[in-house]
């Protein structure tokens, strides 16, 4: 759900960017974060809690709260609310806590 008309702000959207979320193709715009692109596409659940497997979305959207951790291009624990979208990015729901390679 993108804002198309706004009384104060004008949104100059950059070029379209293709990325993948759990294998499925999605589209966002240059300047989007992963979280904003997913949210615009209607994806609110970004992961699950470790013990009770409860659904998790973002909370703060500025990189403070770590509620939005996902695996991006193979790297776990990426805060997707501040990670900018790049062409061809592979975004995955993270299973477990992730390991350092």
């Amino acid at each position: 759900m993108r804002i198309e008309e706004h009384p104060i702000l004008s949104f100059k959207r950059g070029k379209k960017i293709k990325f993948y979320f759990d294998g499925k193709e999605y589209e966002g715009f240059e300047g989007d974060t992963i979280a904003s692109a997913l949210h615009a596409a209607g994806v609110k659940v970004l992961g699950h809690s470790h013990n009770h497997k409860r659904p998790r979305g973002f909370y703060c959207a500025i990189g403070n709260c770590s509620s939005c951790l996902m695996t991006v291009d193979g790297e776990p624990n990426v805060r997707v609310c501040i990670e900018k979208l790049r062409e061809g990015m592979m975004v995955e729901t993270q299973k477990g806590k992730g390991v350092l390679k």
Binding site: L9, K44, L46, P55, G57, Y59, C60, N64
Partner: protein, 363 residues
């Protein structure tokens, strides 16, 4: 290891103002911001500011962010701007460890101004972790930076200025705000903002809190209930709201981790949002050479953050031998501005809080 005269941590209103002042007086400054742009929370504030012309009254926050950056550019020979850069640690020997776009480095400044801001508080109720429940600032970011609607129907929790302003901004973005609730018996924000949202038909329910949130994968419904004079919920007063978004706007707490790590003496001051450092009139903490400005010094508004930034920038520069001539005049001017910004009823609380942590003379 790189060195610099003054490192400013945080590129929001406080940090920008500190950097501008210090650089304008001749000090070499590094301003460090974890986001890819300077401006901090100003970048999402579409409302006009109050105060007087020194704090950019009647100007929108987004425009103030641009104006401050333009001002900083005037002194670019004295300023290094590090964006996409996060300070990881502030050590006892005064070394900052830093990550810049995946690269690790160290910086040894002679003075440090910490202007890291604050983060949003949370609220306890069943299912408060459901996606669709966001900080009010997060929703502001999503809408005003990225142009994305958070959902269709919103319940706003908190009738302070942020709750009221973000409700108005949601309506501007074409999102329906069902109600604003607040546990307190009175609206915490300015009456101007409250009247604006009321004119748009949004009810403000004071003495109400969240009882329960419902939803399978994301928020579908919220039940609220009324509180009595002792802030106890009254059974039978439940109301349901079919909403896909709930915004939590119940205050901010200072992002003071670096100050703790540096060993600054910290005091818990509820009026200022949580643990804040002891400071003197020059905004210097108990650790010599570490200054503070903005919400990390006590949660207030961007206007006072700007003035505190100027004051901290001035004093840090002065301690390095700059600004000798006009120092006392400038300092008194900033203290006077802060005094008038804190003169309203909201200011009473701030002044009470500050009296617990401001030490006259040296710490």
């Amino acid at each position: 290891m790189k060195t610099v005269e003054i490192a400013v941590i945080g590129g929001g209103p406080a940090g920008l103002s500190a950097a501008i002042n210090a650089a304008s007086l001749g000090a070499k400054v590094a301003i460090i911001e974890r986001d890819d742009q300077l401006g901090g929370q100003l970048r999402k504030q579409t409302h006009m500011f109050f105060g007087s012309k020194e704090q950019y009254a009647s100007t929108r926050g987004v425009d103030i962010a641009v104006m401050l950056q333009e001002e900083l550019k005037k002194y670019q020979d004295n300023v290094d701007v590090y964006t996409d850069t996060t300070v990881l640690g502030l050590y006892e020997d005064g070394v900052l460890t830093i990550e810049q776009s995946g690269k690790y480095m160290k910086l040894k400044p002679e003075r440090i101004i910490v202007a890291t801001g604050a983060s949003e508080k949370f609220l306890a109720f069943p299912n408060n972790d459901l996606p669709g429940i966001y900080g009010a600032g997060a929703v502001q970011t999503l809408m005003n930076i990225y142009g994305v609607k958070p959902g269709n129907n919103v319940l706003m929790v908190g009738a302070g200025n942020i709750g009221l302003i973000v409700s108005y901004q949601l309506m501007q973005a074409g999102v329906n705000v069902k109600a604003i609730i607040d546990a307190a018996p009175r609206i915490g924000g300015y009456l101007v903002h409250a009247s604006k949202v009321r004119r748009m038909g949004i009810p403000i329910l004071t003495s109400h809190t969240v009882k329960y949130a419902y939803g399978k994968d994301s928020l579908e419904k919220v039940t609220i209930w009324q509180l009595d004079e002792q802030w106890k919920p009254i059974p039978g007063t439940e109301k349901d709201f079919e909403v896909d978004v709930m915004c939590i706007s119940v205050g901010l707490s200072p992002l003071a981790e670096l100050l703790w790590q540096a060993g600054c003496k910290m005091v818990y001051v509820p009026e200022l949002g949580g643990h804040v450092p002891l400071r003197d009139e020059n905004m210097e903490t108990s650790v010599k050479g570490i200054y503070i400005a903005g919400d990390v010094a006590g949660v207030e508004e961007a206007s006072s953050a700007i003035v505190e930034g100027r004051l901290a920038g001035l004093c840090a520069a002065k301690s390095l031998g700059y600004a000798n001539e006009d120092f006392e005049k400038m300092k008194q001017e900033y203290l006077q501005q802060l005094h008038s910004l804190r003169s309203g009823p909201v200011g009473e609380k701030i002044i009470k809080g500050l009296s617990k942590v401001t030490v006259q003379g040296g710490i």
